[in-house]
């Protein structure tokens, strides 16, 4: 399905500020995997997702989806394989466009766009039914600009948009981190529901260790641009937060020193 081979990512190469963020990531994601990704600040979690999505061109290595080499494909060319939800709730929708216009744009992800009408009547009906079934209180606000939605509503909407047409990979980059705990839980529940119902393959970055253990079938820990832990199935199911901390110390040779990871 998704394969990363020896992926290195450096920024500001050749300057005093040169940063080497990803140190040769090797990862094979199987169809149907729901992987949670944890790691401290600067571990390279977001950078890895950006590399997969093509927001940054990687410095060296290869990226494949379904054995298609996408290493040099631009972000918009990869979009037909990839759905994304960002941490910043404003990033996922165009705020001056209405809910239905945003949905219609996402519904055409990866397809050629022409001078046909941007949204058809049958689509309007479909979106309304979809939003009604999800009970977000958005079904009667299809004409509202998304700037008037709450952060949680925007994330839910982005999640629906990102899961249209069964993307090969769904990338979730701390998509609940900017929400209050109750809303975060709702969006997370919706995520699990959408991924499950559509049998999507998903990568979810989170800083919440409990969520990382509870959700998905596989867990990856990143540290200084390397994958230091990759567990799945039974092994993951049996794990507790304290085990995870110990494994981290063993694998990285350091104690966890990241308040955000420990406190959450």
């Amino acid at each position: 399905m998704l394969k990363l081979q020896e992926v290195h990512q450096k920024f500001e190469i050749g300057t005093v500020n040169e940063k080497h963020i990803l140190h040769g990531i090797n990862l094979t994601v199987n169809e149907g995997d729901f992987i949670t990704i944890i790691g401290g600040n600067g571990a390279g979690k977001s950078t890895m997702l950006n590399a997969i999505a093509g927001s940054n061109q990687i410095t060296s290595g290869k990226i494949f989806i379904d054995n298609i080499d996408l290493t040099n494909a631009k972000e918009h060319q990869r979009a037909k394989y990839i759905g994304r939800v960002f941490q910043d709730t404003r990033m996922g929708t165009a705020s001056d466009l209405s809910i239905e216009e945003n949905l219609a744009i996402a519904y055409r992800r990866g397809k050629a766009r022409g001078l046909k009408v941007g949204i058809t009547q049958s689509e309007r009906k479909m979106y309304k039914e979809l939003l009604t079934s999800l009970d977000l209180g958005l079904e009667n606000r299809l004409k509202d600009k998304t700037r008037y939605l709450s952060g949680g509503q925007r994330q839910a909407l982005t999640l629906i948009m990102a899961s249209f047409h069964h993307p090969k990979i769904l990338l979730l980059d701390e998509h609940t981190a900017a929400l209050d705990p109750k809303t975060a839980k709702n969006v997370l529940d919706l995520t699990v529901k959408i991924v499950g119902e559509n049998k999507l393959t998903a990568l979810m970055v989170t800083h919440n260790m409990k969520d990382a253990l509870k959700i998905g079938n596989r867990l990856i820990m990143l540290h200084k641009g390397n994958i230091i832990l990759d567990i799945s199935g039974e092994e993951k199911a049996k794990l507790g937060v304290s085990d995870l901390l110990k494994m981290f110390e063993k694998a990285s040779g350091e104690e966890i020193n990241n308040d955000r990871m420990l406190l959450s």
Partner: protein, 298 residues
Amino acid sequence: MSFFIGAIAQGLLWAVMAIGVYITYRILDIADLTAEGCFTLGAGITCKLITSGLNPFLSTGIALVGGLLAGLCTGVLHTKLKIPALLSGILTMTGLWSINLRVMGKSNIPLLREKTIISLLESLGFEKNYAAIFSGLILTAIVILFLWWFFSTEIGYALRATGNNKNMIRANGVDTDKVTILGVMLGNGLIALSASLVAQFNNFADIQMGVGSIVIGLASVIIGEVVFGKRTILRSLIAVALGSVLYRIIIALVLELGLKTDDMKLISSILLAVALCFPNIRNIATRNLKNSIQRGGK
């Protein structure tokens, strides 16, 4: 009252120019200074072709093409060569000065007894200002209807989203470079189209005539939105066209008060500055009002 009719005529001729600025400034969120050179280009092409004996309608169409090409240049500089938008516009604008002189062959082309769209309307019995109002109204209506349709197409949605959130629209598979180039072309095409009509009304093209046009366009956009609202695309387009008329009426009133035409550019700038900061002033004013009401209630 004649100054009033004249102002409406000018406003309608410039309305399409303001709509062109609206596309780059509001939809794409780019302050595109190409307008200054592009306006002269549209007027220059038109007058050159008309004095060479070409049909005025065809000349107007070719002016539109000239504007599209000017936009293409700025769009490519900005997206493909990664030059900041403001600078890309300045580069094209500056380069166009020389190109405009080449096109025109001299710095001023008068239209003496040549056939223009305006003179054709006059020969049908319209008084000159009314000929301008009539042709400006028809052109503006066509442009607004066209854009209303265009912005409701798939590409139109992509264009609006590109100006709004590049990350989002890229993640949805749109090449923002292409769409941005298209938008800048469209905007500048309309500016040249408007300039063509203005030149046919004024009966001349001058190398200087584009100077300050961006300020006029922006002022029309802002005044239109503040006064007539911007809830939907159609509403915004109509508001910008009306803003152009309102701008001309304000200028005409100021001139009636005794200021000279030499003061025009200063008045334009002051007007734009006031229009730009008006929403902030309004916010501060309502906040103060609310505060004072709250204080009063205690």
